[in-house]
Symmetry: C2
Subunit: 479 residues, 2 copies
């Protein structure tokens, strides 16, 4: 598979094409230092051996924003360096640090915007990015990623909503000015031989926001400035965030948050047109800058197809690796059937929205990290005949099945469904022995099967197949 071919990026060899994008954890203290929970989180990811781990955003300016890593002065370097050494000792994964600048928000709902920034304040931001990038290099990271996506300062300059009347707003060139200055000053600081990647939105997904039209030009500018990768996200903006009285405004709560982390109702690879359009444009202009695609890419087949059809150079997987950090090594080693599948229910997103430590709902109750289990005995069924029963209840399909046994504990039950004789697809996973399928239509014959799995992803045999035809309202002349 191309997915497991190494790739060299400005002297940095990734062992495969899988990228863990920066994901907020809320595990650090308010002081911004690396702590044991943060180290454990990334060590767990490293164990799975993705090509590149991008450690969560750390602030370049020391701005307060709850539990968030900082890289705003030299005192943060030692703790970061210790973590990076541990990651390198544990794994062939390369490790980048994402650095971020954000503006002030208040519980009143007020927020500072780029329109409020003086020219001096803008110059400070440019300098802070460069200094923080220098610290990232000194901490032993393999690379740095500049956060220019979502609701944060550099993205807000890029935004089509940036109507500053001076040289920093309104026209596309002016909106790219701070981005341009930051990339150039970072490059001067870290030197030509240190990989510098960028994360930005391929589409803002808000009213009057920019679309792929502008994003292609931004990406081309990034490529011309010698950026070493371009990681494409979407949405995640303040402009459509839902205000909760008494809480600071939080991006990702509106529609643009849905588009940033596409949930169960989105097609797989929902945002692929963005990296694909950007890559085509940048490549056509003569640049080979690697483009990272993200957004509900969950199967090896889909990831591989995006690489094969030239829609992306690297595949970002955030929630899929949160659910199972060992996705890369399992798939590489031919153990795809042991992957613990993300259900895209966005409990992780909800935890983040509520300022709680980010974990996966599939993990054992209370666990702060994905379990590190590779062996054990597969669960077995307490098998009645039939084990699984499906019934039609008021326009839905209800499933019930028997508990399984396990050497540790049953970690969950996967539900697989086939529609009208098509392939079985992982529908969702649940902790209990009951599920109601709302995603059904009349006239279709559904087949379900269930399997229990342990924390290592070892599975029971499939249950019996429960077949059920939804009553069809088309042929019966009703009403």
């Amino acid at each position: 598979m191309r997915l497991f071919e190494p790739v060299v990026i400005n002297g940095m060899t990734l062992p495969n094409r899988i990228v863990l994008p920066a994901m907020v954890t809320r595990l650090s203290g308010e002081d911004g230092y690396v702590n044991q929970d943060v180290r454990d989180r990334y060590l767990r990811f490293a164990h799975g051996e993705p090509g590149l781990i991008v450690v969560e955003a750390m602030s370049v300016h020391g701005g307060r924003s709850g539990p968030l890593l900082r890289m705003s002065d030299d005192t943060f370097i030692a703790g970061q360096a210790e973590m990076v050494r541990a990651l390198h000792d544990a794994s062939p994964s390369k490790v980048a640090a994402q650095i971020i600048h954000f503006l002030k928000i208040a519980r009143s709902g007020w927020r500072q915007t780029v329109a409020d920034l003086s020219h001096d304040a803008i110059a400070d931001i440019v300098r802070q990015y460069a200094e923080a990038a220098g610290r990232v290099r000194r901490a032993g990271y393999d690379a740095v990623e500049l956060h220019m996506a979502h609701a944060y300062t550099l993205a807000s300059f890029l935004s089509l909503r940036n109507r500053r009347p001076d040289a920093f707003g309104r026209s596309l060139e002016n909106r790219m000015r701070v981005m341009t200055d930051v990339i150039q000053s970072v490059r001067r600081e870290v030197g030509g031989d240190f990989p510098v990647g960028i994360r930005f939105d391929g589409e803002e997904c808000i009213k009057d926001g920019y679309t792929l039209n502008d994003a292609r030009e931004m990406a081309l500018r990034m490529a011309r400035l010698g950026s070493d990768w371009i990681s494409v996200s979407a949405g995640g903006k303040f402009e459509d965030a839902i205000l909760k009285p008494g809480e600071p405004l939080y991006p990702y709560t509106g529609y643009s948050g849905d588009r940033c982390m596409p949930s169960v109702n989105y097609p797989d690879g929902a945002n692929i047109d963005l990296p694909a359009g950007i890559k085509a444009y940048v490549n056509a202009a003569g640049f080979a800058t690697p483009v990272v695609a993200t957004g509900k890419i969950r199967t090896p087949e889909l990831a591989e197809s995006f690489l094969e059809t030239g829609k992306a150079d690297l595949i970002g997987m955030a929630r899929a690796l949160l659910a199972d950090p060992d996705w890369p090594r399992k798939v590489r080693d031919g153990l795809s059937d042991r992957v613990v599948h993300c259900i895209y229910g966005n409990v992780c997103k909800a935890l983040d929205e509520n300022f709680k430590k980010v974990r996966c709902v599939l993990w054992p109750k209370g666990a702060l990290q994905a379990p590190l289990v590779h062996a054990g005995t597969a669960p077995s069924w307490v098998y009645d005949d039939p084990n699984l029963v499906a019934s039609h209840v008021a326009g839905r399909i209800q499933l019930k099945w028997n508990h399984a046994n396990d050497d540790l504990a049953v970690y969950g039950y996967e539900i697989h469904r086939s529609a009208d004789g098509g392939p079985y697809i992982h529908l969702t996973s649940v902790k209990g022995v009951f599920f109601v399928d709302d995603d059904v239509v009349g006239g279709v014959r559904y087949r379900y099967r269930v399997r229990a799995y342990n924390p290592a992803g070892l599975r029971t045999p499939d249950s019996n197949v429960a077949a059920i035809a939804m009553p069809d309202r088309v042929r019966t002349a009703a009403s």
Copy 2:
């Protein structure tokens, strides 16, 4: 061109593949009867000879909503019949009526939702659709289109936000229940030989809304129920509408409104993945139901490519035909260079949002209809050398040129731009002799040329080419 090949839909022969989608005009009185302004609007469209004219939504229940046509009792038939006769006399275009049910909204911001409807109220809606469809046939229309898109009752049942706990909500099948009943009862009323089309959203484009996943199933259901076309829109929802104190909530004011009528910042054909995905799914299931694509399709080349690549069977153009109702006949007759181009500035949308009569900003000041002019003399230049001057001003490009003469009046000036030696593309049109281009990036050499046109689309020769290179911030080590 395929675009101008006739197509037969359930016995109705469209002379070409161009569809005028239903567009609110706000020209009728509050009484819901056809008046002279309404007749004039559709006669003007008919003069351009699109394959199918879909007359704006008329209410099936007589609900009050400002100036809106009604088909809620037999008294409305005579006026409608008179208009349809006039349209048929004037044009080979076929004529459909779109029928709609909507719920109540109040100036307080309150709105009725589908959760509020009793089973009897739902049965009334189903009956009202059938009765109104019967009236459409009796009025002499060639077809009826059922409005199931945007913010209206049937779309709200289809919505993923419909969490009714009974047989009309939550599961996909239950959400399709009213749609299914309506299509079946309409078909019983109008008979098998009367074309019945449907307009619906391929994606809701709101938080927790449905996406193409569900839309494909809805379209398949429509096809199985014998719908004669499926016209695909997007967004246009209440859920993200912006509340103006003292005004009833109006859909299309939020992000989903942007997606419904993609503006200048969207790529051409911005929504094509929706009809394309729907058509592929419906065709794969063995149905040939024609699919109409809409959403900023403005050039003959793009329209044709969508037909050739099987992304659509018919091409819907709303704003492009509002700007120039004669687009179809001009393109057909090889007079593409006389088309008056829509600038996608959405002034028409803003008029609608503000409850004003909908017109095109390109039309002469105060005119309620597009001018009906096919001859005259092309404007000529009052030509200085140079006529057009471009200059770089603070990260933008400013254009100035000389006034042109015209036998009637200069209708406007088209600005065409080439980037780095690429083809000239119509950037926008303006009424004055001054324009600032914000959509520019450093390092690119832009070439502009301008031409004035009269109401018939007859043009001056191109102005001189004004070439200007935007200063490039990449090579100069700044900051």
